[in-house]
């Protein structure tokens, strides 16, 4: 379904060049949940944004990306925009502060000239567990978890096949995170969606994904099955250290930490 080959993303020019993503390749099958995990600066969000076509004006993107047999060129087609949607990390930042929930949800429908916009908006709200009373509220009037639901509803309006999730629950309280993760799983089942989930939280990735790639400094360190994660048998030492660190504070383990330059 999704195929990325030798993706490179370079920001800036001259003396201030920053190679954010180096030769990254990955492959996601239809209906799969693919995880991209890494610490800050690993390039995981950049990969997602490159796939979404958000970087073409601000960076040099090279490599081959194919989505549903369509090779992605510099300009994404309307069909791509209908098929591939994205949910961002900051629930407040990803909703326009001056637009009501209704405007936010109706926009993708209008842009793609879909019919029955009113119905679609109401349905999308229902699907994410928000009732009609939210429809004409502004983002600052609803909670973080509710805003993230609106973000998810917005991603569903065009009936996509693929949703890119950039740290969708990192800014949420733990109890709200559980609700949102459950929602995402249910939607995936009901709509046969394909997910690429970016997170720094190994537990979230292990919960949601079947396959994952670990990134560091713009490169893929290893790609593995989630079972390897659960069995604590990753191949590379960096991944092992990340896994150990995710388990909590363990003094002996910490004293053995290496610096991975």
């Amino acid at each position: 379904m999704i195929d990325i080959r030798d993706l490179n993303v370079v920001f800036g020019h001259g003396k201030h060049v920053f190679h954010a993503v180096r030769d990254v390749s990955l492959s996601v099958n239809r209906g799969q949940s693919f995880g991209l995990v890494g610490e800050s600066g690993s390039g995981k969000t950049t990969v997602l944004r490159a796939l979404a076509g958000l970087l073409d004006r601000v960076a040099r993107v090279s490599g081959e990306m194919t989505v549903a047999q369509e090779t992605l060129l510099r300009h994404r087609s309307q069909a791509f925009r209908r098929r591939v949607q994205m949910v961002f990390q900051d629930p407040f930042g990803s909703l326009h502060p001056r637009h009501t929930v209704d405007t936010i949800l109706a926009e993708p429908a209008r842009v793609h000239r879909l019919d029955r916009i009113n119905e679609r908006v109401v349905n999308a709200l229902e699907e994410v567990g928000l009732d009609a009373s939210f429809r004409f509220r502004y983002p600052h009037q609803i909670s973080g978890g509710q805003r993230q639901r609106v973000s998810i509803a917005r991603a569903l309006i065009t009936g996509p096949d693929i949703i890119l999730l950039d740290e969708p629950t990192s800014a949420l309280d733990v109890s709200v995170q559980a609700e949102v993760l459950n929602l995402l799983m249910r939607l995936k089942r009901e709509h046969g969606l394909t997910y690429i989930l970016v997170s720094h939280n190994l537990a979230v990735i292990a919960h949601m994904c079947e396959t994952l790639s670990v990134m560091q400094n713009g490169e893929v360190v290893e790609t593995m099955n989630v079972q390897q994660l659960r069995d604590h048998t990753p191949a590379k030492p960096y991944t092992k250290q990340l896994l150990t660190a995710s388990l909590g504070y363990d003094r002996t383990a910490i004293d053995a930490f290496e610096e991975f330059a």
Binding site: G53, R81, F88, Q89, G93, S94, P97, D102, E107, F136
Partner: protein
Amino acid sequence: MAAEQTLRGWLLAEIPESKLQARCQRIFISWLAFIRNPVAVIGLLIIVGLVGIAALAPWITSSDGLEPDLANRLLPPSSEHWFGTDGLGRDIFDRIIWGSRITLYIVALVSVIVVPIGLLIGTVAGYIGGLVDTILMRLTDIFLAFPRLILAMALVAALGPGLENAVLAIALTTWSPFARIARAEALTIRNSEFILAAQVQGVSTIGILTRHVTPLCLSSVIVRLTLDMAGIILTAAGLGFLGLGAQPPTPEWGAMISLGRQFLIDQWWVPTVPGIAILVVSLGFNLLGDGLRDVFDPKSGG
């Protein structure tokens, strides 16, 4: 009253049921925040007063203020002529009132030219960036560097003297700071996640500029406009003073000061009253602008 209760109820309802209601609620809440500031309310009242007397001019004046009456030159304020008469015997009160229309005309015309141009150039430059930004900003700089008076004289030479041409000259030399303000806001907004979300949705660049970027730049621009309004009125007055703007016998306040200057010592009311009128209106716009800025501050929400 029952009707008032339901309107207030509708505006304060917990759950808005339509886009209109939601928008009215937001405006109402901003209004409540605005009137908490007494100084801002004074500003608003002054401007409302200006609009009021301009509208009611035919009914509150006794003449059109244009006919000379040389027998009654330079009369001091009295019950018959509240502000006295000027060098040609015209009632100053009436001229002030009719002049308010001209002031409003200047305000409106400049706003209508300056705000759209500034927003358009600023948002496009800020959002698109790169070469487009550079070109537009150099264009902005060129207009910023233009001395108003020279431009006004050039326009007058080309198009003939008149208020419209003076206003055009003012507008052409005033839009630059607004473009800069809009550009600064657009630069901040352009990397926000809601803009990225719109891009992912496939919203066109024009759509993003009009529906996403511009609404957020609007409040800064409007605040700046009200604060600049004093300067704009004074500049129009100055141009009128130089004979480049409103032509006699038009009762433009600046022109009135110009003509009345020679009488300052002995018949102080002739230039002073229009001067006070300009002062009051400029102050009104300033206070209004300050009040609006306090309301639009993002920290106060909405």
